[in-house]
């Protein structure tokens, strides 16, 4: 296809990628007519990875301010973004993560044009008023505080802050409290004026639509948005290899201890990523998985969660477990390490490996049950790699062998690359007193 506003870049597995010639906006289409519903999602390639001390949490705070409006969509005119979408029955939100920010709307497919217009309006015309930032800062601060109430979130934030000292994965997406409170509206606008451009974004439409109509709609709404005049600044900081085990402890009043072990792993695009994903399921995918059997079935932990983080830059392979009261957290840590040691020496059986592969391959098929689930998975994929990585993922998983699993355990899950964290309950004389006034 040529001559029109779009050029067809590539197609594979039902996906069709286009590029808007006027400004470089990437467009990804996937028809999935399971219901008269469509998801529009726009991913900006900016996340907490692009932040530094002083403005940690800026990407996320900016994401909140993006709901405060544009000249066309604002509360004063009775056209607040959320109100317009709510009235259509849309399921909508925005999320910020290490490598990306996404804005999405799942709605009846005959309402798609409204979602596209809202996103085109806020790509370059967000109001970003200081009078909006003030109350929104305290909203975000409450979001931060809610996170601080969760032992899991506290542990994951400390884990990344401990394992990464130089790379910006060190700081959490929500930001540090004082940065959330003090960052200026001007600084947020600078962020917006650096990263929110069509040439730093990918728009996707998934679900029930007509391709010609949807491309015409996208050309109409986004075609005149100018690209950035400056190059998008790259992140060049590299986390050096870890040269010894690191440990941290968090003590707060409570009753249940948690244990977290995380090893440094490569970036999502690395060829070992599929084997690490399979390893994740072997260790933590369901009742029959090794750590569930060793910890939960033996009444040592209340549950176990294994996360092979897949990020744009080198990341972690994590195990989190709330420890059953009365059990020493060190006992849980020892068992996790023993299970890893076994995997470094003995090959898993082909049956066990096949089960893990089947679970991951099925997840990709289940994704296609709903348009917003595909959009969520694709958002992550294009943030850490690209959509082809997502399209090729099932085949890459299918190739993982027991030898691959042992090799990645030996390569990455070493003590020198390990960060161990503990969340330890601190007793209090005043635990939970209920008073009726």
């Amino acid at each position: 296809m040529s001559g029109g506003p779009f050029e067809l870049v590539k197609e594979k597995a039902g996906f069709r990628e286009f590029r808007l010639s006027s400004n470089g906006l990437r467009v990804l289409l996937l028809q999935n007519r399971v219901a008269p519903v469509a998801t529009f999602c726009i991913v900006y390639h900016v996340g907490s990875r692009n932040e530094a001390v002083g403005h940690t949490g800026a990407t996320h705070l900016l994401e909140h301010l993006m709901f405060k409006g544009t000249p066309e969509f604002q509360r004063d005119k009775g056209t607040a973004i959320a109100a317009v979408l709510e009235a259509l029955g849309a399921r909508f939100n925005a999320t910020t993560w290490f490598d990306r920010t996404n804005y999405y709307e799942t709605l009846p497919s005959d309402c798609l044009a409204t979602a596209v217009r809202i996103e085109s309006s806020r790509m370059r015309q967000a109001l970003l008023r200081d009078s909006d930032r003030q109350p929104e800062m305290t909203v975000v601060r409450n979001e931060f505080e809610r996170g601080e109430n969760s032992p899991f979130q506290v542990l994951y934030k400390h884990t990344f802050a401990t394992a990464f000292r130089e790379h910006p994965y060190h700081h959490p997406t929500i930001g540090w409290r004082s940065d959330i409170e003090e960052v200026t509206t001007d600084r947020l606008r600078e962020f917006y004026d650096t990263f929110y451009y069509p040439n730093n974004a990918t728009a996707m439409v998934i679900g029930d639509f007509d391709e010609a109509e949807v491309l015409a709609l996208l050309a109409k709404e986004f075609g005149s948005v100018a690209p950035s005049s400056r190059p998008i600044p790259p992140v060049y900081t590299i986390e050096p290899p870890q040269e010894g085990e690191r440990r941290f402890v968090v003590r707060r009043v409570g009753e249940v201890a948690w244990c977290a072990l995380s090893w440094r792993t490569p970036e999502a695009r690395h060829p070992d990523t599929p084997a690490l994903a399979v390893l994740g399921n072997i260790l933590g995918g369901g009742v029959t998985s090794r750590l569930h059997q060793a910890l939960v079935e033996n009444s040592l932990a209340l549950s176990v969660t294994v996360v092979p983080w897949q990020l744009r830059d080198p990341a972690l392979f994590s195990v989190f477990a709330p420890v059953r009261p009365g059990v020493e957290p060190s006992e849980v840590e020892k068992i996790v390490r023993d299970e890893i040691a076994k995997l470094a020496t003995q090959l898993v059986t082909e049956t066990e490996c096949a089960k893990a592969r089947t679970q991951i391959e099925a997840e990709v098929i289940f994704d296609r049950d709903s348009t917003d689930q595909i959009a969520a998975s694709l958002s992550e994929a294009i943030a850490v790699a690209d959509w082809e990585w997502y399209a090729d993922y099932p085949a890459a998983i299918a190739r993982v062998t027991p030898d691959d699993v042992r090799r990645v355990v030996r390569t990455y899950l070493n003590d020198d690359a390990l960060t161990v964290g503990a969340y330890l309950p601190r007793p209090s004389a005043n635990v939970a007193v209920e008073e009726v006034a």
Partner: protein, 435 residues
């Protein structure tokens, strides 16, 4: 432009598209073929929730439901899990607080594993053996989980409100964490087996399968598996009446909590089958369904910045649950947030909905309904709900017109009848610092 796929066929009304079979023992089976993706989803309901458990030992219902998958006459827990997990299939049976009458049954699989999934579901419903050792493990885990929940400000605030409003013996009464731990520790295998024998059977069972399946094959397979199951108790429900409000404040002081939770709660007589349900739901949507757009959200979050989340809801199932407003706050903002919330509710009760609000809430609800029907699991769940509440499958087709019919007067009257701002129980949990 090239390559656009053919437009999807026009969809038949659900009442025509969903295949139905009623078995002689009372089980009602529904199947919708949806061939777009090689998966299937199952949703079901059976009346064996906490409403039917002994008054002082309500948790027998949830533990019995959870233990159904811990071993059957044919397979141990591990064998069953191995068979399902090796095919990425899943089965779950759970009884939670959202509907005190029902047990929720759900399942999912790739369509190549349809038989495996349906066989496993029939097996766990009909042949659980409640192994002693599994129950002992579960009890240890439950005690730990209760302790873990007790660390959450949202749980503590909600429990304090429910304990104050609903008297002991009421299915919505909430025991303290320590009381629940004592009940867990006293549980025996005989308790579960006894409750199972008494409550589980086909008479109240609804099972819905949606996905890439052949309807006749699924119906035949389920009839073969469930046709000879005992009927059990008739699907009759006699929920207790709603108690009188218990106005007043309860504070749960919890150390080391950065964020606090506040629940404002009132008993209500609204059930899901009440003719005024949709009127109440539309009024509530305008008041507080969304943290971003409803009146409470615009005031307390958007304008005053006092919270990340504020949300109001009627908890209406087979049992009339409370009307609640929940809000998370920085502990020292609690009083301001509560005052603004009550003021906004007061205004809403006084002035009622605007025509614009009602029109927006109607289009929102109708649109959201369509969006929720955008997946196999969403459709299965909607059919299951419509049938187990006695509306029938046609409810899915009629829903938009039922919503459209509600008038502003009906919505205002239904809401005013039930929400009296002065009668709230206000329960908060967090680190406030006791005077």
């Amino acid at each position: 432009m090239t390559g656009a796929a053919a437009a999807p066929p026009r969809r038949a009304p659900f009442v025509e598209a969903v295949r139905h079979r009623a078995l002689s023992n009372g089980a009602r089976l529904y199947v919708l073929e949806n061939r777009f993706n090689p998966t299937l989803a199952v949703s079901g309901t059976l009346f064996a929730g906490r409403l039917f458990a002994p008054q002082d030992r309500r948790l027998i219902a949830s533990v019995t439901a959870g233990e159904l998958i811990k071993g059957t006459a044919k397979r141990s827990k591990l064998e069953l899990a191995e068979d399902l997990e090796s095919r990425a299939a899943s089965v779950s049976v759970a009884s939670d607080a959202s509907d005190p009458a029902g047990v929720d049954i759900s399942g999912a699989a790739l369509s190549r594993d349809t038989d495996l999934l349906l066989d496993a579901m029939v097996e766990v419903l009909r042949e659980p053996v409640f192994p002693e050792d599994e129950l002992e493990k579960e009890k240890k885990k439950l005690v730990g989980s209760i302790r873990q929940q007790q660390e959450q400000t949202s749980v503590r605030a909600s429990e304090a409100a429910m304990r104050r409003i609903y008297p002991p013996g009421h299915p919505l009464h909430r025991l303290t964490g320590e009381e629940r731990i004592a009940r867990v520790e006293a549980l025996t295998r005989a308790d579960l087996a006894g409750f199972y024998t008494e409550r589980y059977g086909a008479a109240s069972l609804v099972l819905v399968v949606v996905g890439d399946v052949e309807a006749d094959r699924v119906l035949d397979s389920l009839e073969k598996g469930l046709g000879s199951w005992t009927a059990g108790p008739a699907p009759a429900i006699a929920p207790p009446p709603a108690p009188a409000p218990a106005p007043g404040a309860v504070t749960v002081e919890m150390p080391d909590k950065a964020s606090a939770d506040v629940i404002l709660a009132l008993p209500s007589d609204l059930t899901r089958t009440d003719p005024e349900f949709l009127a109440c739901a539309l009024a509530n949507s305008a008041l507080g369904q969304s943290s971003l757009t409803s009146r409470l959200g615009v005031r307390v979050r958007d304008t005053e910045g006092l919270t990340y989340g504020i949300h109001s809801a009627f908890s209406a199932s087979h049992v009339a649950g409370p009307f609640t407003v929940s809000v998370t706050v920085k502990p020292d903002s609690r009083d301001a947030a509560v005052a603004s919330t009550l003021d906004e509710i007061q205004r809403f009760v006084k002035s009622g909905l605007t025509d614009k609000e009602l029109a927006e809430e109607k289009s929102s609800r109708i649109g959201r309904f369509k969006v929720d029907l955008g997946s196999n699991a969403g459709i299965a769940n909607a059919v299951d709900t419509a049938v187990s509440y006695g509306f029938g499958v046609g409810y899915l087709d009629e829903f938009p017109s039922l919503v459209a019919k509600v008038t502003r007067e009906q919505a205002d009257a239904a809401f005013r009848k039930r929400v009296r701002p002065e009668a709230f129980t206000i329960a908060s949990a967090g680190t406030f610092g006791r005077p």
